[in-house]
Symmetry: C2
Subunit: 647 residues, 2 copies
């Protein structure tokens, strides 16, 4: 059993006001553009109307993608819920209530709730957990219901979803008369934990625990189910249950494997159960899978899952840049998992990864305007190369760009719910400690030892590392202020009320244990030089290359600033790199400039291959300009490159 | 019209004895191992028995691949024919005769001949030229029939195939009552030209001309045919008729595009028709497509078609190394096309490409033992990366290796027929000129001006560039000896009977115009230094890299000689490169050694990404050893790499 010391709890976003700075801007855009744009897409594509279909009322034309539609509604509802938790908006609430009313009407008498298998293929209900996403859809709707209930106190959708959860639990479980099924696409596990917290009903925790424990047990349920459909389980299109992490029991799994979003949703659920039940073996499993992913399979941008073929992991140190699939949803799922890992095993290393994902791949996931989205997040972009789609045989010199909507539009509403709930990730509270995880302008209120305390951050982070924290207490309060010293930071200063202080670092947090008085000022100055990052020498794709990083931000070169043929750009090892704010760019971001060299033969004619001896190379110096990766593809289309050749 | 100067004609392999040297070894292996191994596979997989099936006698289990089975038989028969042309073998001939007898019996009363559409789906005959390969199969069987007839003088299979050709021609053509179809997978065009030459029947030439002219004309026949099947042409699985080069008329096509084998078979047919008919526009088309392919889309190994998704071309300068599909058949098809281009437009540049393909990708296509085969031919190999198969989700640290047989086994019999007919590629004869294209020990006899002449090559080419040619004439003979000066060669010496001579070079051939006497000796010494080759600076995958080439041979590093993690190996620009024969290796090949540096952090622990400042790089010098690319993967499995980092 995990020792039962009281664990930190995340401070909910209701208590965290993010009013300026980078994340305030992204949240404003999310409310004003992203959430409405997604609603409009749900409407245009028929997802909203799909709730109105009567049983067996099959539309004339539909595609298999329709099986996943309900999850899009669920994630939109969750984004709305999180947004309403911090920003009331009666019109938005009205829009959600109308949708909820439709969802309620769509629920079947037995509690079942799925637009596809009610209207389109009613005979196939619950016949393919492996592929047909009923549980996945249920999970997202439950998460939406819980967030909306938390925001508004309205129980309608929560009760609807609890009934559906009960319907599922009646059917699947370890007891006589139940089938031993579990989700093909994990997600419901996390959702059931939220439902447990929202309702207080322990049966939802028990069901999530059952799902985690049953997964991958022999006989594999998906085999049983395939035979019941009259199929040979060996014909599974994905070829291996690694795809859905059901190839063996979770406690036997050694590496992060298969479909990346499935994997991280599952692992987040495992961490939830470990925390809730105190199961030591699940804690060890979580740490083992975490370490494997972080040490062997994570892009420097916080992207993960390099392969299109399984939308997921391949093998250790395999991190192709141009074809990186690195689904936006996978980085969001990683952030969910990281957040749970911190609360299970309090250490800053989890938040370091969360921050890496947030500031790079998550930011890149949507445009500055907030209404176009990336599904795949390559680290090099070149015309005609689209990691989200296989080569079609038609070349157009088109660059990979964000889209208003996607064939599989899982990412846009995932971004919306992540950004809307970002306040949840800033702080955690333990009985005598306030953990400060993320730095951005904000004002938070919390209670420690029965006292109301306010903390305010003033900072231009991530563009510089100077963070002022002001504490407001009504009367002096003894507690530990634990400030995360990011993994990327190699030197910092800490002051209290203008005087340098030394603070021990435990588990990655600088611990200031003292009696705090009203108006106490803490200043944390994180050194934030530009660093040339190397990848592990086994990452063959990055051999001889460096990536520029400053603070949590990974940089890239874009054609619009640096010309084309970025493959020929080399960064001399002695080139001085200068970071500075560009207040004109994207409302103000830090950019890096320095001297680079373009190496290419001075002229080239004729043969595609020529002896070096007859092709003297010309080196042209120029001043390059790198911008934050999270902001790429917001200007003229062109090449992009994170990993640069160095000599 | 192309000017009607008499064009050179290839000297047939019956007149070229290749008795020692590299190609003699490969031909011996082909006869002793490859041709029998393929026959055994044809037998084991049911291809031989498929000829015995009665109409509508559908086997219990079959796959769609079976649609292409007849072509495997055709190519095996062609390999047998070519082999018998130079090496009589009564047992092999007996084996072929038995097969031919089955094929003859399988022909339908109306001339139709296809095992799949006779036995398995008789109702679907001639309903999908685009995908169902009836014409492709016919083409390969015709080529097999012609080769076998040429070797043995036996007409049975030739007559069978002529009847089938007549059946096809009755159905497809420009006249009233005919359908305006043409092959979805080109091949029949070349075959009909061969049938024309073998039978003297001009209608086969006319039909091939019709196929070339009709292709891509509006309305596109494949659209018409799809509608007749009740399908929407827009649902074509390959998305574009570029896939089969039917997107526009051939004379409008500007770039080599689509499926690479289809492309080169088609272009070879176009060159055939240009030569036979003197059509200037087809000559120009041929040159234009050739230049595009060679200048923009060819690997240094003579491989082509980088993408698995369309088994073909992508866009200019896109030449990924690790995922290079570069199908063996595509390089063989390129050799066919190159050979025809020379005869259409006599210039050594075509033979240069033929030689590049032969000595690198074609040689790599099969093992030293001759009984395992590559389909895809990557230029970098790394465990778990298999360019022939998509990532399956299962990692095993398995290296990409040759297989005894393949899901689509088009390459093994293609290699067999290419190698068996290699003598056809050595010489061409024009009215007053003997062209010498390829260098390898051999003895050839030919006629010029009515005189019998023998030429003998003594050389260790391609391992060195010293070539002795001895002429044997019964009486003095005036003619031009045209010796190819390879494109890779930047300096050479030429001697006649021990004295240096100057010879003008026209169209890439050094021309020795004189009266030749018995025993005249010509010595051509081609400088063959090791060269560091660069790729065009637009080839982003090769930026900052060099490939080692010596003569026609491209070299690679293998793990068995150089350790693993070849991505970290760097070749200093001043490193001296030494070529030398290794008589122990593969019966004697030239290898290159020199000093390289392995650059990697001295130690690495923890994070996948670390600042360069805290990870000082260690440089370890070692003596690398490069072997010919054509011989890779014949020893312990491991990494392989052609393009090496340089600094």
């Amino acid at each position: 059993m995990i020792s039962d010391i009281p664990r930190p709890k995340a401070l909910p976003s209701e208590q965290v006001r993010i009013e300026s700075g980078l994340w305030a801007e992204r949240q404003t855009t999310n409310r004003n553009r992203t959430i409405p744009a997604i609603y409009e897409q749900l409407r245009k594509t028929g997802r909203l109307d799909s709730w109105k279909l009567q049983p067996a009322e099959r539309p004339k034309r539909y595609t298999v993608i329709r099986m996943f539609w309900d999850s899009d509604t669920g994630k939109w509802l969750e984004a709305v819920g999180h947004s309403l938790r911090t920003h009331r908006d009666p019109a938005l609430e009205q829009q959600a209530d109308e949708l909820i009313s439709q969802i309620e009407k769509a629920q079947q008498p037995d509690g079942y709730l799925n637009t596809y298998f009610t209207a389109i293929e009613p005979g196939k209900r619950w016949t393919n957990l492996r592929d047909w996403h009923e549980m996945y859809n249920a999970g997202h709707l439950i998460e939406g219901a819980v967030a909306y209930y938390q925001a508004t106190g309205k129980r309608t959708i929560l009760d609807v979803m609890a009934r559906y959860a009960d319907h599922i639990m009646e059917r699947y479980g370890p007891n006589e008369g139940q089938k031993r099924g579990y989700p093909g696409h994990p997600e419901l596990e996390m959702a059931l934990i939220k439902l447990y917290h929202a309702t207080g009903e322990k049966r939802y925790l028990d069901q999530a625990t059952y799902f985690i424990n049953e997964r991958g047990q022999q006989p594999i349920y998906f085999d049983v189910e395939a035979r019941e459909r009259g199929e040979d389980p060996a014909d599974f299109w994905a070829q291996t249950y690694r795809y859905c992490q059901a190839h063996e029991p979770i406690r036997d799994q050694q590496t992060a494997t298969g479909h990346a979003v499935r994997a991280c949703y599952l692992y987040a659920g495992v961490a939830d159960i470990a925390l809730e039940t105190g199961d030591q073996s699940l804690l060890e499993t979580s740490r083992r899978l975490w370490d494997d992913l972080i040490q062997h399979q994570l892009y420097i941008t916080g992207g993960l899952g390099p392969a299109r073929s399984n939308e997921g992991f391949t093998f250790a140190y395999d991190l192709p840049n141009e074809t990186a699939y690195a689904e936006t949803c996978a980085s969001i799922a990683l952030a969910f998992w990281a957040h749970r890992m911190f609360h299970l095993d309090p250490h800053s290393r989890y938040i370091d990864v969360l921050e890496r994902a947030l500031y790079n791949t998550v930011l890149a996931g949507f445009s500055i305007e907030g209404d176009t989205f990336f599904y795949a997040n390559p680290l090099t972009s070149y015309p005609n190369v689209n990691p989200y789609e296989p080569f079609s045989g038609i070349t157009t010199d088109r660059y990979y760009r964000r889209e208003e909507w996607l064939t599989c539009p899982c990412c846009p509403p995932n971004l919306a719910r992540m950004v809307a709930s970002l306040g949840d990730y800033f702080y955690s509270v333990a009985p005598n400690t306030l953990y400060v995880h993320l730095y951005n302008q904000n004002r938070a209120t919390f209670q420690l030892g029965g006292r109301d305390i306010q903390i305010e951050q003033q900072t231009n982070y991530p563009w510089d590392g100077d963070i002022q924290l002001t504490l407001t207490v009504k009367q002096p309060a003894d507690f530990e202020l634990a400030l995360r010293i990011p993994g990327w930071c190699r030197a910092y200063r800490l002051e209290v009320n203008g005087s340098p202080v030394a603070a021990p670092i435990t588990n990655g947090y600088a611990r200031l244990n003292r009696t705090w008085n009203a108006g106490d000022q803490v200043r944390l100055v994180l050194d934030m030089p530009v660093e040339r990052m190397l990848a592990h020498p086994n990452v063959r794709q990055d051999a001889g290359r460096v990536a520029l990083q400053r603070g949590p931000i990974v940089y890239c070169l874009e054609e619009v600033d640096n010309g084309s043929h970025l493959a020929n750009v080399v960064l001399p090892r002695d080139s001085r790199l200068i970071a500075g704010m560009d207040s004109q760019l994207f409302g103000g971001v830090s950019v890096i400039t320095g001297e680079a060299v373009r190496i290419a033969p001075a002229s080239w004619s004729g043969d595609l291959y020529q002896p070096q001896a007859v092709q003297p190379v010309a080196e042209t110096k120029f001043t390059f300009r790198a911008i934050p990766y999270g902001f790429w593809a917001n200007r003229a289309p062109g090449e992009m490159r994170v990993w640069l050749r160095e000599f």
